[in-house]
C-alpha cells in the first residue's frame, strides 16, 4: 500500500469513528405489558416512612419508590432520633434488597457442613422439615433442647419470640450482640440502681469529655449524637462547646476533638478518679448535687487520696498540666458532660472505670440537667414493647449447654459464627448441635453451617416495629413496613415462626393464633390503645404507618438518675492483659468499623467501597501502627505484617498511623467472612480470632485486653486506599 493511500484510509477511519461517536442512538421506550396497579404513576415517586434496622439505634427512614422499585433511602425529618439524617449503613440498606447473592428460596444442605452445597426445596417441604424436627424435640421429656439465637430484639418481634420459646418450653433464647451496651446497663445498675441507658444531651452541653465513646461512628445512637455534636459546636450563637477526647486511638470522634489525651489502655478509670480528686480538692464540685446524691465531699476526697496527680500522670502517661487543666475546665464550665465508651469498657477494669466516669458526672451536677445526662426514654410499660437483650454470661451459659449436648436444634437469625469471638468456644460448640436453621438473606458464615436455610425478607420487604436504643429522652416507637413487593420466594422470620407454631399445634398454636406478623403487629397496637374504639384502631394504624411511628415529644419523662446511696466507689484494678509483655509488646484494640458495625455491613458493596474516614482504606482490613513503632519494626505503609496473639495469628497490611499510641495497634472489625456473598467472601481478616479471654471476666468480657506481636512479612500488603496514601488527616498536626 502506498503511503498516501494509507494516510487517506487512516484519516477516513478516524473520521467515521468520530462521527459514529456523535451519532446519538434513539432510545427505546418499552411499555408495560399490563398496566400498573392503582397508585403507581410512571415517573412519579412514592415515599414510604419506615425504620432502619441496620443497628439498634433504629433511625426513621423515608424510602423513595418509583414504579414499584425502592430507589433511595433518606432520614425521616420528623423522627426525633435522627431528625432526617442517616448514616452510610442506613443508606446502603437498599443494596440488601438488590444483592445479587440473595438466597431466593429455602435451601437444604446436601454436602458436608461448611461446604456450601445446598439443594433448593419448596417452602412447604422446608416448613414440614422444621416442624417435624421440633415435634420430635417436643416429645422428649426435656423440651429445653431448642435454642433461638437472634440479635437484640425490640418491639413485637421481642414479644413474639418470647412467647414462642416460652410456649415451646425452652429458655434458651439468646439475643447477644458483641457491641451491645450491657456494660453500660451493668454500671448504671451499680451506680444509679437502675439499668436504663443514658441519653446524653450533647447539643446543649458546653464541655464534653469523652472517655473512648466514639459517638460519631458507633456509640449507642451515632446519627443522633453526630447531629447533636454539630449543634453543640455550631448550633448556638455565642457558645462553641469544647470537646476533649481520651483514648489511646484517635478515632473519627477523637479527630473531631479540641484536645486529644492518649491515655494508656486500661488507665481511664484512674484518670477519671484523679480528675474527681482534683475537682474535690479545688472545691469545684456542685455542692447541691452532691448532697442530693448523699455523697459527703470530705469523705470522698479522703477516699480518693491515693489518686494524686503524680500517680495519675504515671498511670496514664499524660502530662500533669493537661490533667489539671481538664479537671478545672470540666468542673467550671457548666453544663459539662462525661461519656464512657466501648474502648474503656472492654478493658479488664472496664466496669470500675465506667463507674468512675459516672461519678464525674455526679460530682459536677450533670445528672438530669440540660446539657447533662438523663435516662433514655424508658421502654413503654405495656408488655407489647419489650426489648430482648442477652448478656455475655448468658452466651457462655448457652455455649456450656451446647457442649453438654443439651441443645438439639438451633434457630439462628443473624451471623453469630462471625461476630462471636472464637475464644468463647461458640463455633466448636455449634458444631455439636445436630440441627441448625438459619434465616440469612445471603449465605453467611452461620448459614454455611446450617441444615436448613429459610431466607428472610430484606428489611425493605418486612413488617416490624422498633424501639430505638437510647436515642431520645421521650418515648419513640418506630414502625417498619414493606415498601416493595418481595423480589423472591422468601418469608419473614416472624412469619416463619408463626407458621411453625400453627403446624406444631398445642399450646404454641394457642399462644400464637395470628396468621401473619402484620396481624400480630396490629394486635399489639390494639393492646397499646385498648381504650380506643374498633374503627379508630384502623385509623391509628394508618397514621402509624404513614408517619413512620409514634413519637411523643411532649410526654414528660418521669425517670431520673440518682446516685445510689449504696454505691461504693470501686478502685479500678491494675489492668490485666492476655499475653506476657516481653513476648507480646503491643496492646491490640479492635474497634467497630464505621462502615460495617460488627460485620453485618460487609456484604454490601457500597459499604466496602466507603473509605475509612481516617485511613481511607477500602475493600479490606488493615492494622494501624504508630510511625515510631513501625520504624523500629521496619514496617512501612502497605507492608504485609503478621499479628500474633497468644491465641492465633493473622496476616494483613499495615497502615502507619500517627493517631495511635506507640504501644498500641488497632484493627477494625467486620471483615474476614468465609461466606456473605461475592463482596464479603474471603476479604480481609476477622480480628476477633486473635482475642483471648481473661479469667474471672465472665460478667463483662475484656475484648481490648489482648497483647500482640507484629512482624513484617513482605512488601506486598495489597492495601487499597481511596484518598491520599497517608490518610485524610494531616500527619504533621498529630503528635504523641
Amino acid at each position: 500500500m502506498k503511503r498516501r493511500t494509507f494516510l487517506q484510509l487512516g484519516g477516513m477511519t478516524v473520521a467515521s469513528a468520530f462521527l459514529a461517536g456523535c451519532q446519538g442512538q434513539n432510545e427505546k421506550l418499552i411499555p408495560y405489558l399490563i398496566p400498573p396497579d392503582e397508585g403507581v404513576t410512571p415517573g412519579k415517586a412514592t415515599y414510604y416512612a419506615s425504620s432502619c434496622s441496620g443497628c439498634p439505634a433504629g433511625c426513621g427512614i423515608l424510602v423513595r419508590v418509583s414504579e414499584g422499585r425502592a430507589k433511595k433511602i433518606e432520614g425521616n425529618p420528623r423522627h426525633p432520633v435522627n431528625r432526617g439524617r442517616l448514616c452510610a449503613r442506613g443508606q446502603a440498606a437498599l443494596q440488601e434488597l438488590y444483592h445479587p447473592d440473595r438466597i431466593q428460596q429455602p435451601l437444604r444442605r446436601s454436602g458436608p457442613r461448611g461446604s456450601g452445597k445446598f439443594q433448593k426445596i419448596s417452602w412447604s417441604e422446608a416448613l414440614d422439615l422444621l416442624s417435624d424436627t421440633l415435634k420430635e424435640l417436643q416429645q422428649e421429656p426435656n423440651t429445653g433442647s431448642l435454642a433461638l439465637l437472634t440479635p437484640q430484639l425490640t418491639g413485637s418481634l421481642a414479644t413474639l419470640t418470647g412467647v414462642f420459646m416460652r410456649s415451646f418450653g425452652s429458655t434458651h433464647h439468646l439475643a447477644y450482640e458483641l457491641l451491645a451496651p450491657d456494660w453500660l446497663r451493668l454500671a448504671n445498675r451499680y451506680s444509679f440502681g437502675q439499668p436504663d441507658l443514658p441519653f446524653y444531651d450533647l447539643a446543649e452541653t458546653r464541655y464534653l469529655l469523652s472517655f473512648g465513646a466514639d459517638f460519631v461512628e458507633n456509640h449507642l445512637s451515632p446519627v443522633q449524637y453526630g447531629n447533636a455534636f454539630g449543634r453543640m459546636r455550631q448550633g448556638r450563637d455565642t457558645v462553641r462547646g469544647h470537646f476533649t477526647y481520651i483514648g489511646g486511638r484517635m478515632s473519627l470522634t477523637g479527630a473531631s476533638a479540641d484536645r486529644w489525651m492518649p491515655a494508656k489502655p486500661g488507665s481511664e478509670g484512674v484518670l477519671a478518679l484523679g480528675l474527681a480528686r482534683l475537682i474535690l480538692a479545688g472545691s469545684l464540685h456542685d455542692k447541691a448535687a452532691l448532697s442530693n446524691s448523699g455523697i459527703r465531699p470530705e469523705e470522698l476526697l479522703a477516699r480518693l487520696r491515693n489518686y494524686d496527680l503524680q500517680r495519675v500522670a504515671d498511670a496514664t502517661g499524660l502530662a500533669k498540666n493537661s490533667i489539671v487543666e481538664v479537671a478545672r475546665e470540666f468542673a467550671t464550665t457548666r453544663p459539662s458532660l462525661a461519656m464512657a465508651g466501648e474502648s474503656v469498657a472492654f478493658q479488664s477494669n472496664g466496669l470500675e472505670a465506667v463507674r468512675a466516669i459516672q461519678l464525674l458526672n455526679t460530682l459536677v451536677g450533670n445528672l438530669n440537667r440540660p446539657g447533662g445526662v438523663y435516662p433514655a426514654s424508658a421502654d413503654p410499660s405495656t408488655g407489647a414493647l419489650l426489648r430482648k437483650e442477652s448478656s455475655f454470661s448468658e452466651l457462655l451459659a448457652l455455649i456450656a449447654s451446647m457442649r453438654a449436648g443439651k441443645i438439639k436444634a438451633a434457630l439462628i437469625k443473624g451471623n453469630p459464627v462471625h461476630t462471636v469471638p472464637p475464644v468463647t468456644g461458640f463455633q466448636e460448640a455449634l458444631d455439636t448441635v445436630p440441627f441448625i436453621v438459619s434465616f440469612a438473606t445471603v449465605l453467611d458464615d452461620t448459614a454455611l453451617q446450617a441444615e436448613l436455610i429459610l431466607p428472610d425478607h430484606a428489611a425493605l420487604e418486612s413488617w416490624g416495629d422498633v424501639v430505638p436504643l437510647a436515642g431520645s429522652r421521650t418515648m419513640v416507637y418506630g414502625t417498619m413496613q414493606p415498601v416493595v413487593t418481595p423480589l423472591y420466594d422468601t418469608r419473614q422470620f416472624a412469619d416463619v415462626l408463626l407458621a411453625t407454631a400453627s403446624r406444631l399445634g398445642g399450646p404454641l398454636a394457642a399462644a400464637l393464633p395470628e396468621e401473619s406478623f402484620v396481624e400480630y403487629l396490629k394486635f399489639s397496637q390494639a393492646q397499646r390503645f385498648s381504650s380506643e374504639k374498633e374503627e379508630d384502631l384502623e385509623l391509628l394504624w394508618v397514621e402509624l404507618l404513614s408517619g413512620g411511628g409514634h413519637f411523643a415529644p411532649d410526654q414528660a419523662p418521669e425517670k431520673h438518675y440518682r446516685w445510689a446511696s449504696s454505691a461504693v466507689i470501686a478502685d479500678p484494678p491494675t489492668p490485666a492483659f492476655a499475653g506476657e509483655a516481653n513476648k507480646f509488646p503491643l496492646h491490640l484494640q479492635v474497634y467497630p468499623s464505621t462502615a460495617f458495625h460488627d460485620g453485618r455491613g460487609a456484604v454490601l458493596p457500597w459499604l466496602q467501597q466507603l473509605p475509612d474516614p481516617m485511613s481511607t482504606v477500602v475493600w479490606g482490613s488493615w492494622i494501624e501502627i504508630n510511625p515510631k513503632t513501625a520504624s523500629s519494626l521496619g514496617i512501612s505503609q502497605g507492608d504485609l505484617v503478621e499479628v500474633t496473639s497468644p491465641r492465633s495469628s493473622l496476616r494483613l497490611p499495615a497502615v502507619v498511623y500517627p493517631g495511635i499510641r506507640p504501644d498500641m495497634v488497632a484493627i477494625p472489625l467486620g471483615q474476614g467472612h468465609h461466606g456473605g456473598g461475592r463482596y464479603a467472601k474471603d476479604r480481609g481478616v476477622n480480628p476477633l480470632t486473635l482475642l483471648s479471654l481473661l479469667n474471672g471476666k465472665e460478667q463483662l468480657a475484656a475484648w481490648n485486653a489482648t497483647r500482640v506481636r507484629v512482624t513484617r512479612i513482605s512488601k506486598k500488603g495489597d492495601l487499597v486506599s481511596a484518598g491520599h496514601p497517608e490518610g485524610s488527616y494531616r500527619g504533621d498536626l498529630i503528635g504523641i
Binding site: L19, C22, Q23, G24, Q25, N26, E27, K28, L29, I30, P31, Y32, L33, I34, P35, T41, P42, G43, K44
Partner: protein, 171 residues
C-alpha cells in the same frame, strides 16, 4: 526556505484544526433520527386523526406525571381483540402479547438527562400537545417537529411568561 515551509505548514494545520472545531461547534450534531422506523407500523393518523381518539386516552399519565406514558400492551389489545383483528400490524401486536413482551418502541422526542421536563405542568398551563409534538393527527409515522433545543424552550417560555430561571428546568 525550509523554515518558511515549516511555519507555513504549522499555520495551515492550526487553521485546519480551528476550522474543524468551529464547524463542529456550529453544525447541529444531533444526529438522532427524526422519524425512526418503529417495530410496529402504528398510525397516529388512523387513531388520533381519522377516529379522533384524544391524546390523553392513551397517554394517560401526562396530566399527573413528568412522563406522558405509553399504553400498556394490554390496553392496545383490549380494543384490538374486537377492532380490526385481522390486519397484519394488529397480528404483530397480539404476537407481542402472546410472547409476553413489551413492544420496543423507538423514542422520537427526547430531552437530555439534565433537563427536567414535566408534562403535567405544561398540560396544566393549557399548552396544546401539538406545540411540541406537531400535527400528530396527520402523521402515519411519528416524526419530531421541534428542535427541542434550549433556545426553542426559552422562546416559548418567554412568550407565555413562564419562568426562565435556570432552576426551573435544570434541577
Amino acid at each position: 526556505m525550509k523554515r518558511s515551509w515549516f511555519v507555513g505548514g504549522l499555520i495551515v494545520s492550526i487553521g485546519t484544526i480551528a476550522t474543524l472545531l468551529a464547524v463542529m461547534y456550529l453544525l447541529p450534531l444531533d444526529l438522532t433520527e427524526r422519524s425512526p422506523v418503529q417495530p410496529l407500523a402504528f398510525s397516529h393518523k388512523v387513531h388520533a386523526g381519522d377516529n379522533g381518539i384524544h391524546c390523553l386516552y392513551c397517554h394517560r399519565y401526562a396530566p399527573k406525571s413528568t412522563v406522558a406514558g405509553i399504553p400498556a400492551v394490554a390496553d392496545c389489545r383490549s380494543c384490538h381483540l374486537f377492532i380490526a383483528p385481522d390486519k397484519p400490524e394488529v397480528k404483530k401486536l397480539i404476537a407481542y402479547w402472546d410472547k409476553g413482551e413489551g413492544i420496543p418502541w423507538i423514542r422520537v422526542n427526547n430531552v437530555p438527562d439534565h433537563v427536567y421536563f414535566p408534562h403535567m405542568m405544561h398540560i396544566r398551563a393549557r399548552i396544546d400537545c401539538g406545540i411540541c409534538h406537531g400535527k400528530v393527527a396527520t402523521m402515519e409515522r411519528i416524526s419530531r417537529t421541534a428542535s427541542l433545543k434550549m433556545g426553542w424552550c426559552l422562546d416559548c417560555h418567554r412568550q407565555h411568561k413562564a419562568s426562565i430561571d435556570c432552576w426551573t428546568c435544570h434541577l
